[in-house]
Amino acid sequence: MVTSIGSNMDVENVAENRRKFLGRSSQGLGTVALASMLGPSVLNGADVGNSLGAASLPQKAKRVIWLSMAGGPSQFETFDYKPKLAKMSGEPMPESFTKGQQLAQLQGQQLLCLGPQFPFSRFGTCQTEISTLFPYIGSMADDICLIRSMTTEAINHDPAHMFMNTGSQIAGRPSMGAWVTYGLGRVAENLPGFVVLVSTGKGRSPQPIAARQWSSGFLPSRHQGVQLRSHGDSVLYLGNPSGITRDQQDLDVRAINELNRFQDSQEHDPEIATRIAQYEMAFQMQASVPELMDIRNEKKKTLELYGCQAGDGSFASNCLLARRLAERGVRFIQLYHRDWDHHSLLKQELPLRAAEVDRACAGLIHDLKDKGMLDDTLIVWTGEFGRTPMSQGDKGPIGRDHHNKSMSMWLAGAGVRGGQVYGATDELGYAAVENVCTVHDLHATMLHQLGIQHDSFSVKFQGLDAKLTGVEHANVLHDILV
């Protein structure tokens, strides 16, 4: 990377510029400046903008694909079968479980057990028990590590998403994607390091998702997640204004850069060089992003593998795009699929969500494996919280309430041991009791696979060494790793 600096500018000159710029940088961080100083002409082509220098641990995962099932899928209909709960379905929930506990919409209501609504079956040579609603994911059971003992602190959607993404329930903290691109830098030329795709289940009125979920918080803005949209401009303001061709845009960008270079010769402001580089990158993105988004040239077989059609904006399409992003070196790819919030209509709606994601998730694992990329791609599948073993009946046909004492999630790829079930809940699935783990543990483990020692990965913010894994102790879940 230093070579590339050398090829563009004199090394000392860069140093001088950098210092001059740092002088202006408003943040104690200063990396804003650094990022900005380096500019894409330097950033491109190498792992630069890298705040770790070199990763401090061996790196197993080069990138992450995070599949967020927004709304909080029920573990009882997906990955955590509870025969005792089935037996007690309709009976009062024993008070010993629930007394003095935090409840969301079930506050003050009679608490009744609700058994699993769908049969489970054993999959793979590992014989992992998974709901029959997920035959495709089941077919990949030997590749995934299922965690049944995840817990979280928040019990409402918005704070729970924040906690899952940033390790804090206070707004304004960086999302994990921002931390990771900040720490490891970017590989992709002409694409952001952190990309977000959102799809929505067909049917009901899903929970909202705020842009703060992919915010860079107090980290430099360039680490902010960039949402790729399935309609309109795929990146905001990406398209030329009507009446302006790409050639004309090129003329303007060149003129702007030429005039900025004249100005630089007058003022010697390093920000100008950065500005020039940013215009070049923006212009390149205008071509590279549409190319990325265009899946029409994918083989029919591939589209079938995921179960999508070009331009349908589905979760399955986004999974395919995730693979394309991964191929192009994007560091952190986060997919949201909305509408898992089944306070009611659990039996009617959950199978629809399952069908929307099942084949695509399995397709993604399969495809990455085929391309030899599963070994260095970490896939995470999780909601923002779990759901209660108790039924909720006040919102129409029966459902389940939010729950933070137990939830199920899975990981695959990048040194995660497949075919494994980690942790367990009590006999009614109320609380995680064996190998209980926290969101901070998940973050620590993910960072570990990315080659980052979580407790030394910090940024000064408001007088603290702020960390993704927070101030409390977090454990790397070594048991789930190869």
Binding site: S26, G53, A54, S56, A104, D158, D252, E271, K460, G463
Partner: protein, 896 residues
Amino acid sequence: MVDLPYRFPRRTAIPSNRLISPKTMTTIHIRPLVLLAVLFGIPEQLSAESPVPDKILFNRDVRPILSDNCFFCHGPDANHRQADLRLDVREEALKSGALDAAKPDAAKPEAAKPDAAKPEASGIVARIFSDKADVQMPPPDSHKKLSARQKEILKRWIEQGAVFQQHWSYEKPHKAEIPTGQNGVDALVHNRLSELGLKPASQADRRTLIRRLYSDLLGLPPSASEVDTFLRESGDANSELSATKADTAYLALVDRVLKNPHFGERMAIHWLDVVRFADTIGYHSDNPRNVWPYRDWVIKSFNDNKPFDRFSIEQIAGDLLPDKSQETLVGSAFNRLLLSTEEGGAQPKDYEARMLTDRVRAIGAAWMGQTTGCAQCHDHKFDPFKARDFYALGAFFADIEEPIIGRREDGMVVATADQQAQLAKLDAALTDAKTKRDAILPWIDVAQQQWESDLVAYDIILPELAADAKASDPDKKTAKQVVEIVKKADKDRKPNEKTIVQTYFRNKVTKLYQSERDAFAVADKERQAYFAQLPKCIVSNSSPNKRTVRLLPRGNWMDESGEIVKPGLPSYLPGPKVEGRELTRLDLAQWLVSRDNPLTARTVMNRLWKQCFGMGLSKVLDDLGAQGEMPPNLALLDWLACEFMDSGWDFKHMVRTIVTSETYRLASTANADQLAADPYNREHARQSAFRIDAELVRDYALAISGLLASDIGGPSVKPYQPDGYWENLNFPTRDYPSDKGTSQYRRGLYTWWQRSFPHPSLLAFDAPSREECCSERNRSNIPQQALVLLNDPTYVEAARVFAARILTERPGTPDERIAWAWQQALQRAPRDEELRTMRGLLDQHLEAYRKDAKSAEDLLKIGFSPSPESLDKAELAAWTHIARVLLNLHESITRT
């Protein structure tokens, strides 16, 4: 970071995986210097260090090291303290023996030398120089590491008697004597410069000066004619005789600018960040709330130069003032700016705690420059702020009436005098109409009785129930109900049954006294309609039923075992003794702006300095505590703070003092020597250049194009925004109708502030979401900024309208027109090479649009404002590109 040496060793290709050996990677605190070191393969210690000073000063040299490396375990937080050793209080540290070498001469540091000859005897020194893992401090697993320089400083400090000082910002500010006739800023900057042997840069040229002043104080570019006036009044720049004239002209310019009503808008932008002003509630559904009158109150307060102490008091306690008014109540909306939720299943106790902590963080950030957030769970690790202080501060706000969960109320009507008069008129008309109507009602009732008895007696079929009736189902249902009810005796009818019959009779049957009844209905409707459109604002109302505030163990709201906490001022700072009553928000507000509190004036002046120089005197704006930075020029910050208080918290006086200083007027370009001597410009031997804020990027484009609607205040507006940007909002789902007419062209600060989805074009230029207080914005330089300036219809339209201005307002050759455009946008003439580039560009675009009329038309259709029909479309389209390039220049969005 401050003492960066100028020269870097020249290094070439270093494999990226070898930049830091695993051994040195134990600490990955990400700081610029480390990064530089990383990038250039320089060990951190070498790159970061300047010589150890002969005379060690605790606050300057020692405290930052102890705070960063030791206080976490050996600081104010008793619960987390290790080995019972406390290093932030001298007596405690001495007792422990950690400073042993310093002990014998505690009272007389100058007598330290004989005994201090063996600093190795000190516990600290032995440990920090040790390389044994079990002895070494900080311990290896803390991932903290002292540099050689830091170790040397601690050693020398102990040799010199380990003298402590109270943390600088908790001491009262000291006002330095300024020689008569001198500007305090200049005097104190010059003191430092001569100490350091630095020479100030030359004065900025006048064009730069007026652009700088307009940017900093108004947030708008000066018009070409304003620049002309200023240059004319300044006289000949090269004549020494005219120096006084130039100075007078500048002072007159400052006076004009301070009276310009856009001043309030410019100042408001930063304050609105600090108090996290936004149009929506933040959490989950992120629905709207009525708060914009508060924004206008802030603008007006700055324009009226409301003393800052009063400005503060009205915000925190405007409802508790003896002279409270609509104005002070609108100010008190500050207390309502926090995040709230309407999410189903949200628990009141949870959100009560969130709201309390939100408010404490806001007071800490906005007025005190203190990071209070940590004390939600435990005593502060670095500052003497205790968990008890945190909840005691929160308890001040326990009286504020508000729904904890759910929709905010509409709020107080905020009416101008005219609006109040109009409302009074409508109220009077309504009362009058009501009196007249009430007078006739008894007669109507008599008629109703007659009608009822006829109905029963003659078995009359109501029109809705006739065989061929076309009445709606609800109407039929009502009619059936009426038929049944009238059969009952009056005393057997339920109240709602009486209403059904009465309403039916009055609306459907009788025509008696129709005009009186209509007059009332009209008056009522008019009054309601007028009331509905009046501005409203959620404000503070004090309830006698205060919420109980408990100290929450580890911040856990489900744990109710903590003691009950009453309102109280921070225990580590001096405050008034109040007995016999509970403290109120008014006490808090008055204390914040009292001489007892050493923090507020410093915090506010530090932020103002940043606005005028690009960086605070203490570079960490939101933390004047132990983890912040002691300003290199503390005397200057203290002088500003004292002058601010002495002037009666006169904000404009302080702005004037700063911008009329010679220091402010220096050129921002630096030569290599200046860069080497002071790379970060902490000593102000020159000015700084920086990109303008998000809102201003918009304002400049609109102002230059002539589109800007310059009226002040009003409801927030919705500029163009990409379709579907709000698609992930719900409860309810929302459209984004872009505003039409002049509302489309308002300044950036009036943009609708949707916390969960801030306007993407502002976001790209680092506007904060305002969910938390923000003292300091990022200042990034990213490709999204290029995409916005190139493709956002706001900027395309601005370019098109600017182009139309060029063609209509400046007849002449293309060169003359380009030169004119340059004057409008940049207030200078284009250089030859710039002209050449633009001429070439113009020709190419003109040729293309001459061949492709459709494309020209498409381009000219962007934006709501019409293009003049008289102009040749190809020509206008081509000039739109010229204007577009101008608006995209780095110079156009940079303040120098």
